[in-house]
């Protein structure tokens, strides 16, 4: 191997090492967030600083504050388990009952204080046909 290839190889290895360092050693840092399933949270008693949860909005659980329309609380469910979420800010347009959401934030006293609320991008209309007549 000549000079050029060797030096390129060294740079490559250094940066790959850096990537590993960033993702593995600094796990609690600002870069990463652990994904919890809602059933995992049901048995979780400790507080969690950073959390990401996905699920569906429980029907009739959306409560928008009277004072401030940007303040909302709702439950996210998956199968039988559910967890309460508080959020302040602009809600996505697709935010409604049974919408699939991903929330990130912190978890304290069985309550998620979300800093980020995303609904699945509307790629299309899912689900059943609406205007039908049974024969």
């Amino acid at each position: 191997m000549n000079k050029v290839t060797t030096s390129i190889l060294i740079i490559f290895i250094l940066i790959v090492g850096w990537v590993f360092y960033l993702t593995n050693i600094k796990k609690d840092d600002s870069l990463t967030v652990r994904y919890y399933s809602i059933s995992e949270l049901a048995s979780e008693v400790n507080d969690i600083k950073k959390i990401k949860v996905g699920g569906y909005i429980k029907p009739n659980s959306i409560k928008i504050s009277e004072e401030d329309q940007l303040e909302v609380s709702f439950f996210v469910y998956q199968n039988k388990d559910s967890v309460e979420v508080n959020y302040y800010g602009i809600r996505p347009d697709l935010f409604k009952d049974d919408a699939e959401v991903v929330v990130s934030g912190s978890y304290k006293n069985s309550l998620i204080s979300a800093t980020e609320l995303q609904t699945k991008c509307a790629s299309r209309y899912e689900g059943d046909l609406k205007n039908i007549e049974k024969i």
Binding site: I11, D68, D93, A122, L129
Partner: protein
């Protein structure tokens, strides 16, 4: 009737592609060219039946035949004709057929142009083509059939219609443009494999594969930029890139293809780096399929949902087979692809390309690592860990800045090696300019941000170095007295190189847009009509909120005056809150939508969102963002596409 024809057409395509395998097998045994000829016709016939199937589906969409599940799901009587056409790729089954359709278009082109000149590549090209086709046709026939009728016990009175969010021109054209890029990479994959397997890498081949790559690259770039443009103008989060898995999976093949376009130049000029180029050319398509697997399997949580359970394992199998096939032939042809020449200097054109490749591959690697990290970490210790946008930014901003400087350095280097004195004389002016622009930034801006500082220096360095190159070749063509005619002559003189430079200028402009991101500010607030708020040197005054019932939605219209620091009325913003399907008695079926209003200038955008309205108290909730320099991203994107078309466009025959 038409739908039956379509259904038969895709079954027929399946039979034809199967028969092509048989004839290819017979050819392999007997080496009788007739068999190869028949296989070729079988593949062409497959393509034609796919064309037929697509036109049948298009017909059913246009006449609103709601007896088909697909048509009923994505269109309704009210859907405008244009969006009935675009419904072809709105859902899973249609988009798969559409994907196959574009592959078929490319296949016909490839057979009649490229393979006509390179007959030796035919056998292996057909083999791989047949494999790729059989996968997609299998999906269309058995798993996602667009001609599936609705269940026999119902009558559909009207279809569901297309999501209002998707009824946007840019959203409608963004998928097919991206698909052209994605499927086109299959041809590059096939060419690289076929030429290596049949040990027939010729000069003609490298020129041809480079043309295909430029073409594919143009569409990939345009598709990615259009996706960002749509997200920015329609989705209302004020950005154009979020490092979402779906976005990442379109960026990864773009990076390897960009690397290939550069490093294949070394192979064209000096016959080197064959192995490396083989890997880049094949991995582009493999990354496309990996991306499709990620987006269509739902294995990684993404805001884009295409999830359909049964496609994941299928794509995974397809992906694994492609990878195994590539590795198998790479190992068997390793010695054939070996080249004795080595790159002998850091400061040569080849060295420059090599750094560029290194940087692009590193970017691709970090993005892939971040995207797949949830899967990898879950496999490692059971914890599904996501990396956020901060990971991608932290890694890719410095790497991107190096790339920015390289774009200015590379074109000034000579092949083989560049002497120090030549280097110095060429880089003198760009370095001085870059130094001064950095200095100006420090003097003018109150706060110092390292990345902004470096990026400003990089932009002026690279821009001045490319413009300097243009000036040099302009002087060469300055014989004729007319300025414009000599400029035109200069541009036409070396299309490849000048097209490349135009692309580079486009990317520099993209970086100007990226610099703006460091200065974005935003505010959320509530106002009643008549009230005003001060934010970021502007006064926002809400004049009124009106409501209006329109054709297919109900709208709340706000009216905001923006007054600048000189007390002059700058603009008037009218963001809307719309409710689609508001007549539906079930509130769950109604669909709210925030229609943005953006005051856009070359310096900054004022981006306004009407996010909620409290009718009882008559209070509107708004979000305002000041996004500097965003327009440079779109200008840069357009320039990238123009530049690569310029390089791609066939030059006129020089015969007189």
């Amino acid at each position: 009737m038409i739908s039956q024809i379509g259904s038969i057409a895709i079954s027929l395509a399946g039979g034809l592609i199967f028969s092509s395998f048989i004839f290819l097998g017979l050819y392999n045994k007997s080496k009788n060219n007739d068999y190869l000829e028949v296989a070729e016709r079988a593949i062409l016939a497959t393509c034609y039946s796919i064309f037929l199937a697509l036109f049948c589906l298009l017909n059913e969409l246009l006449i609103s035949n709601f007896n088909l599940q697909y048509v009923a799901q994505y269109t309704s009587y009210e859907t405008p004709v244009f969006f009935k056409v675009t419904a072809l790729w709105a859902g899973q089954a249609g988009s798969l057929l559409f994907w196959t359709f574009i592959t078929a278009l490319f296949t016909v082109t490839y057979i009649f142009t490229t393979l006509n000149k390179m007959r030796k590549l035919k056998f292996h090209s057909y083999l791989i083509l047949a494999f790729i086709f059989s996968f997609f046709i299998l999906l269309s026939n058995f798993i996602a059939n667009p001609f599936e009728p609705v269940s026999s016990d119902i009558i559909v009175q009207n279809g569901n219609g297309l999501n209002p969010l998707l009824q946007n021109f840019f959203m409608a054209i963004h998928p097919p443009i991206l698909y052209v890029g994605f499927t086109g990479s299959a041809i590059i994959f096939i060419m690289a494999l076929a030429a290596s397997i049949s040990k027939d890498i010729s000069f003609e081949w490298i020129q041809s594969i480079r043309r295909w790559s430029l073409f594919v690259w143009t569409f990939l770039s345009a598709g990615i930029i259009l996706g960002g443009y749509w997200a920015y103008n329609e989705l209302g989060w004020g950005g154009y890139w979020a490092w979402d898995p779906v976005e990442n999976s379109s960026l990864m093949p773009w990076l390897t293809l960009t690397a290939f376009i550069h490093s294949s130049m070394i192979q064209e000029k000096r016959g080197m780096l064959k192995k490396w180029n083989f890997l880049l050319a094949t991995s582009t398509f493999i990354l496309v399929i990996l991306g499709t697997f990620i987006t269509r399997s739902g294995i990684i949580s993404s805001v884009h949902s295409f999830t359909a359970e049964n496609l994941g394992p299928m794509f995974f199998t397809f992906l694994s087979l492609l990878i195994l096939y590539t590795i198998f032939w790479f190992l068997r042809r390793k010695s054939y692809l070996d080249t004795p020449d080595k790159i002998d200097s850091f400061s040569s054109r080849e060295g420059g390309f090599l750094y560029n490749n290194l940087i692009l591959i590193l970017m691709c690697f970090t993005i892939m690592w971040g995207t797949l990290f949830p899967i990898l970490s879950e496999a490692w210790d059971g914890n599904k860990i996501y990396v956020g946008a901060s990971y991608f930014n932290q890694l890719n901003i410095p790497i991107g800045l190096i790339l920015l400087f390289l774009m200015g350095i590379g074109p000034l280097l000579s092949w083989k090696s560049t002497s120090k004195s030549v280097l110095f004389s060429r880089f003198k002016l760009p370095m001085i300019l870059s130094f001064f622009s950095g200095l100006i930034y420090i003097i003018l801006s109150g706060s110092f941000q390292l990345y902004v500082f470096v990026a400003i220096m990089g932009v002026s360095f690279t821009l001045s170095s490319i413009l300097g190159e243009f000036y040099k070749s302009y002087k060469k063509y300055n014989r004729s007295s007319n300025f414009f005619s000599s400029v035109i002559k200069m541009f036409l003189s070396n299309r490849h190189q000048n097209g490349g430079y135009i692309v580079h200028i486009g990317i520099v402009l993209l970086f100007i847009g990226f610099i703006g991101r460091a200065f974005e500010v935003e505010k959320e607030f509530s106002l009643s009509p008549g009230e005003q708020i001060y934010f970021s040197n502007y006064v926002f005054k809400l004049n009124s909120i009106k409501s209006e019932a329109r054709d297919n939605h109900y709208a709340f219209l706000s009216d905001i005056d923006v007054v600048d620091s000189d007390n002059q009325l700058l603009t008037n913003l009218k963001p809307e809150k719309r409710i689609y399907f508001y007549w539906n008695s079930d509130p769950e079926k109604r669909q709210p939508h925030s229609e943005l209003d953006i005051y856009s200038t070359i310096q900054k955008d004022i981006y306004s969102i009407f996010s909620a309205y409290d009718a009882q108290k008559n209070i509107g909730y708004f979000k305002i963002m000041i996004n500097p320099l965003v327009n440079w991203v779109w200008i840069g994107g357009v320039l990238m596409v123009i530049g690569s078309l310029f390089a791609f466009w066939p030059s006129r025959r020089r015969s007189k």
